[in-house]
Symmetry: C2
Amino acid sequence: MSFNLDQFLPYRLSVAASQVSRRFAARYETEAGLTIPEWRVLAHLNKSGPVSVRDINARVNLDKSMVSRAAMRLEQAGYLRKSTHDTDLRLVVLELTENGRELMKRLGVIAEAFQEELLAELGGDAPILRRALEAMIRQTE
Amino acid sequence: MSFNLDQFLPYRLSVAASQVSRRFAARYETEAGLTIPEWRVLAHLNKSGPVSVRDINARVNLDKSMVSRAAMRLEQAGYLRKSTHDTDLRLVVLELTENGRELMKRLGVIAEAFQEELLAELGGDAPILRRALEAMIRQTE
DNA sequence: AAAATACCGTTGCGATTGCAACGATGTCAA
DNA sequence: TTGACATCGTTGCAATCGCAACGGTATTTT
């Protein structure tokens, strides 16, 4: 019996992830032409409040160079503001502007709606899926 | 209640997929320094026998340019052979060499072992995870 | 049979990515 | 206190990616 790629879990996982990402990107594309890193930074800031690049890097699975560049673009677009930390001058504090919070409010609605669609497609398997994903993520943290 | 990225399914799916891919890549890195596209082409050819670039492109979720370049590198490394189709001259037929089959035999063992690890970590959730992944993939095909 | 159309694989190109190096700042230890 | 080391964010760079265009071949249409 030779190896069968079609039933190989890492492969199926990767295919599913990229297709779901693609579907979702098509949704928020119409609302605002954000890249995935930009979307993640925006979404994280919306929840966390003002934090450093390093903070986001650690929590959002993005290389710090990507966080830095995404933050630059979001700043130029007027969605976030940069400032230096009060006591630690190495830190750059990122914070959403009013425009950023407003955009995120609209994107949040789209995201929730998309997730509802997914959950409906998955039916009762959804909670187990979640648990399985978390188990796989935990394994490397 | 504001949107929470940490519980957003597409995001968790993406994180899980990239971490699992990373873990797996570290395993076969020591056996042969293949990229992900190269690995996929190799694995598919091992199962399918001789097929065209287009065939792989359609089945393995890789752009045809990536299949083409991966095939070029695998050919240079001596793992596959290219030839033209008997009747349709547009088609390039890809086929593993003896070296390629031999490499794939070793990689198959590594892949199976890794998957066993994953399945053990997941326990009884594994079959449901599989079903959920397939459901999400199906939705876009 | 000729012309228009479709398909195949390769290549070029701009954009994105991950890694490593760097300057600047902070912390710790002697 | 000062020197060694760690951490932060940015930048440079090489590698990779996805898309589109291209030349070549096949198929369909008229």
